[in-house]
């Protein structure tokens, strides 16, 4: 019986070739899309779930309520680790100091500097030996206990091979950290898997950080509760049968015990599960990206919709084909086939088609996977074949077979045998027609939803790229420097040499660019008041050439100058307004006091510029120079170039760098590129929408093409009669297009409000955003109609051009 089903299924697939091809193509595309989406979800959801103690590990996070706003921090004050261990003896704690953009210099046998200099953007964790109880790591040489001593480091196998050629040669050798701290390699471990936000690569002992905290400017902060940085993180490993809530409930007492009363009232600590770190956008993580659960759900939804669309195609095409197959069904019934037997046969056919499609889908996914990095945050290559993906594919094959096979099987097996044999059944005599209309409407709603979403995402991204940031971001080169005093001392000479290059217009030193992902804030007092202002100031540390280098516009006063003997500050427009100044001029001459510093006079007010990404509002900002010229906070060199082709100058600048800072690796980036990096996630999302919108259009066009083909056959006689009665070709084409145009308009009426609602919610992520204009909807509906006409057109014209004599003979 089964063999017979398969034989027949194969022959039917062959016999109704076009039909099968449309079905298989549509399904294969959809299955491939679903498979790729599954792999993405599988990968994203697996982040840091593999640690043996994953469900018992929590990060200590901090929430501050300021000015009615909640602010979330992943870092905690330096003394927190010891205090937590004291107050929660049943819980194990560990702490990291995470260093980004560090330079590693390989030392030779005699501990002399070699030419091997590497900038390690991420992966440096100053750690305590017990961190391996929290995070799984396989040691291949040495053991975690080496991290009890200062000056010791464990590195990954890949770094060992990169720095020293092999694991064996690496042990016992030394590296120089940021040209200041010598570290001896005493342990080597296997590289962590890719699905972690804790990509341990270089793990110096935490003791090393403690004895060198001045390198990062934290020498005064080590014992204080006033400062926290996301670089310093504390993790808890709670005992089994203890819940996070039990610990959290005691955190209030903890905060009151250690923080100053005014800070304690607005500070909240809690345990944040390790398993959630990858998904919580409030805190950020040490990895390459945070993926919100919402964006994973969006992806899941898109996958489900695409699959549904393909199933809809299947149902549409199969029920349309039913008319052609009615004779076969009739005969089978007459000679004894029962309904259930026929259903089994038809579902087998569907199953085979789906199976065949999934083989093609596997191939398509294999081709598509390397391109995944352009549309998602996943930069590594995913494995197509794994137990999970097989299980997924198997379930999808089953679900799809049932979803798309059941209805046509039900309809066909219910045909009255005699009518079926005599071909008296046509697609409009059973309920299929209105159902198919509904399905086409649904399909087009999905694809228009995606089209509208895509247009909105693309226009928002282009708005962002071209937005006025309040400063000039073009042709500006940023050089990352080290923060040691020797380096800083050489800045003046470096600047003088740079300015001799004709293409260099201006050079300044600062902590960061006007727009950066830095979020340095401080409490402050204004105008000799004893109380701090209720809101924090955003801090920019910069020298006197900063305004000119970035083209900041002064609204009042002046920028501080090189000749100033005292420290002065410049504020932005928002700060001036928040301080209650009626106009920028009024702020000039007033004073402010940052933390425990002196009262500093305001000498200028600059026009607002965007401090961070356009997702955030402009913050009240203070720009100031550090007291000492040689400051660790001014390690970035900003070079404004005159040329439109900065590539040429880059070589010269690198040469100069190497003569001034021979011990430092040269690391340069263009400001406009680093600003674009803020929006990588959104860029990828908009590309993702684009890809799926195109897929959705292809799938719905395939379905439409299939339907119109059957409609053309069905209407052969009608077209013949109409032509005999004098209808023109265009009348006939209109006859075909009219119905679909109406269906698409209905679909649009459904899709447009939903799309508006969803995308409006998405735009709320941005403070600076486009308004959703009517033209976006106009483009969406026009494209849909044009694509539908193009799809329908060929078949319609062919039907219209057919000779009425032959058309009428078919009856």
């Amino acid at each position: 019986m089964i063999k017979n089903y398969f034989t027949i299924a194969f022959r039917n697939i062959r016999r109704y070739g076009t039909h099968s091809l449309l079905n298989i193509t549509g399904l294969a595309i959809a299955l491939a899309a679903c498979l790729v989406i599954f792999l993405v979800l599988q990968h994203e959801r697996s982040y840091d779930q593999y640690h043996a103690n994953a469900s018992r590990v929590f990060q200590i996070v901090k929430k501050e309520v300021k000015d009615g706003n909640e602010e979330f921090y992943s870092g905690v004050a330096f003394p927190a680790r010891k205090a937590l261990s004291n107050d929660f003896p049943q819980v194990q704690f560990t702490q990291f100091f995470v260093s980004n953009g560090s330079q590693i210099t390989v030392l030779d046998q005699e501990n002399k500097i070699t030419n091997q200099k590497f900038i390690e953007e991420t992966g440096v964790f100053f750690s305590e030996p017990n961190f391996t109880d929290f995070f799984d790591l396989i040691w291949i040489a040495g053991q975690p206990e080496i991290l009890n001593q200062p000056g010791m480091v464990a590195i990954s196998r890949s770094k060992a091979e990169k720095y020293f050629g092999s694991v064996e040669r690496a042990m016992g050798k030394s590296i120089l950290f940021d040209n200041q701290i010598r570290l001896q390699v005493a342990g080597i471990f296997n590289d962590p898997p890719t699905n972690t936000d804790f990509n341990f690569q270089i793990v110096p002992s935490y003791q090393t950080f403690l004895s060198n905290s001045g390198v990062w400017g934290f020498e005064d902060a080590i014992d204080g509760w006033g400062l926290s940085t996301s670089n310093h993180q504390v993790y808890a490993l709670i005992p089994e049968r203890t819940t996070a809530d039990q610990i959290n409930s005691q955190m209030g007492t903890f905060v009151k015990k250690y923080y100053r009363p005014e800070a304690a009232s607005k500070t909240f600590h809690s345990l944040h599960p390790l398993k959630e770190i990858h998904f919580d956008t409030r805190f950020g993580n040490n990895g390459t990206h945070v993926t919100s659960k919402a964006s994973l759900n969006t992806l899941l939804l898109i996958g489900v919709l695409i699959l549904l669309m393909a199933c809809i195609n299947f149902v549409n095409l199969s029920t349309a084909l039913a008319a052609k197959r009615s004779k076969e069904i009739g005969i089978r019934k007459v000679i004894g086939g029962t309904r259930s037997q026929l259903r089994a046969q038809l579902i087998t056919e569907t199953f085979l088609l789906v199976l065949f499609s999934s083989v093609i889908a596997l191939l398509l996914s294999w081709i598509a996977l390397p391109y995944l990095k352009y549309i998602t945050d996943i930069q590594e290559k995913l494995k197509l074949l794994n137990p999970g993906s097989f299980l997924f594919l198997f379930s999808v094959i089953l679900i799809t077979s049932v979803l798309s096979g059941f209805y046509p099987a039900f309809v066909l097996s219910n045909f009255k045998p005699i009518a079926a044999i005599k071909n008296k059944i046509n697609t409009s005599t059973y309920a299929g027609l209105s159902l198919r209309r509904i399905l086409v409407v649904l399909q087009f709603s999905f694809s228009q939803l995606l089209v509208i979403a895509t247009i909105i995402a693309i226009s928002q991204m282009s708005f962002i790229r071209n937005a006025d940031l309040g400063f000039s971001k073009d042709a500006t080169l940023l050089l990352t420097g080290s923060s040691d005093s020797v380096t800083i001392a050489r800045q003046t000479g470096f600047r003088a040499e740079l300015k001799k290059i004709p293409e260099v217009q201006q050079v300044s030193f600062s902590f960061d660019a006007p727009s950066s992902d830095n979020n340095w804030t401080s409490n402050f007092a204004f105008d000799h008041k004893t109380e701090d202002q209720p809101f924090d100031a955003h801090i920019k540390m910069a020298d006197e050439a900063y305004a000119e280098t970035f083209g900041l516009k002064l609204l009042a006063g002046t920028f501080y100058s090189d000749a100033d003997s005292v420290q002065k500050v410049v504020i932005n427009e928002t700060m001036s307004q928040k301080l209650g100044m009626k106009n920028p001029q009024e702020a000039i001459g007033k004073t402010m006091k940052l933390g425990l510093q002196d009262w500093l006079p305001i000498v200028g007010v600059v026009k607002d510029f965007k401090n961070n990404s356009l997702r955030e509002t402009v913050k009240p900002t203070i720009i100031l120079r550090t007291r000492n010229r040689a400051s660790t906070y001014m390690s970035q060199t900003n070079i404004k170039l005159k040329t439109s082709n900065p590539g040429k100058v880059l070589g010269k600048i690198e040469q100069l760098w190497n003569t001034h800072y021979p011990e430092y690796a040269f690391s340069a980036s263009f400001l406009d590129e680093s600003i674009n990096d803020f929006y990588q996630q959104e860029e990828r999302l908009s590309r993702l929408y684009k890809v799926f919108a195109i897929l959705a259009i292809i799938i719905s066009s395939l379905g439409l093409y299939g339907l119109i083909s059957f409609m053309a056959i069905q209407k052969t006689k009608e077209v013949g009669i109409r032509k005999v009665l004098g209808a023109s070709v265009s009348n006939i084409v209109l006859l075909f297009s009219k119905e679909f145009t109406i269906l698409i308009l209905v679909a649009f009426a459904l899709a447009a409000p939903v799309a508006w609602y969803l995308m409006n919610a998405w735009l709320q992520n941005f403070v600076f955003k486009i308004t959703i204009g009517w033209w976006i909807f106009a483009i969406a509906i026009l494209t849909s109609i044009l694509i539908a006409w193009a799809t329908v057109g060929y078949k319609a014209i062919r039907a219209a051009l057919a000779n009425p004599v032959t058309s009428l003979k078919t009856e």
Binding site: T7, R332, V334, G336, T338, I418
Partner: protein
């Protein structure tokens, strides 16, 4: 074998009501060869469909092999049908996607005969119908006569008690037509009951009894000598 009485079948559309069978009564004994004749629209096809359990009557009684089947649901009808009744149609109604062998095998599959046994039965029947040499051909590759021989083979493969033939020679030339009629006669002589709808007086003469219908009723019966 068949006893129907006061059988009614009415086709209704929104505006028109057509009486296809009007209180028709009829009896067919086991081993009979009956021909049903009458003009188009007289109800003979409807009668054949009801006799074949493809359709159910609106009123009246239909006793098949001593069982009242008028109220049977589709599943029961299909079950009774596949064990007892074979069909031969004017337009052969072979499944184009199946070979000669597979077409003949199909009823056995539906009745659940084991594969080894199926092979023997099908080959036997194909031999008897002298179509064995065409077993792997598809219907389109055969002449009309050959197709109808396959159809007859398929109708008898389950060894049914009753064969219903709906103008079996209607699409055939006279020599192929005679061949098919001879096949049916042979089957009848081996004990199969045959009821045949036909327009052809020539074909009707192969039967034992001719029932003539008009407007959904029998109007005359001729016993052939």
């Amino acid at each position: 074998m068949i006893k129907i009485s006061q059988l009614e079948k009415i086709y209704r559309t929104e505006e028109v009501e057509t009486v296809a069978l009007n209180k028709l009564s009829l009896e067919v004994k086991e081993g009979e060869f009956v021909a049903i004749m009458g003009p188009s629209g007289c109800g003979k096809s409807t009668l054949l469909n009801i006799l074949g359990l493809l359709d159910d009557p609106d009123a009246g009684s239909f006793v098949f092999n001593g069982i009242e089947v008028a109220g049977f649901n589709e599943r029961k009808r299909a079950d009774l049908r596949k064990r007892n009744i074979g069909f031969v149609f004017q337009s052969f109604n072979l499944i184009d996607e199946l070979t000669v062998y597979e077409n003949v095998e199909l009823p056995l599959i539906y009745t659940g005969v084991k594969p080894a046994e199926r092979k023997k039965i099908v080959e036997d029947v194909l031999d008897k119908m002298v179509i064995m040499h065409r077993r792997n051909h598809y219907p389109q590759q055969l002449s009309g006569g050959q197709q109808q021989r396959v159809a007859v083979a398929r109708a008898v493969v389950n060894n049914p008690k009753l064969i219903l033939a709906d103008e079996p020679t209607g699409n055939l030339d006279s020599s192929n037509g005679n061949e098919v009629m001879q096949l049916l006669t042979d089957l009848n002589e081996q004990g199969t009951t045959i009821i045949m709808v036909t327009h052809s007086e020539h074909d009707a003469r192969y039967s034992h009894r001719i029932i003539r219908m008009l407007d959904g009723q029998t109007v005359m019966e001729n016993i052939m000598v």
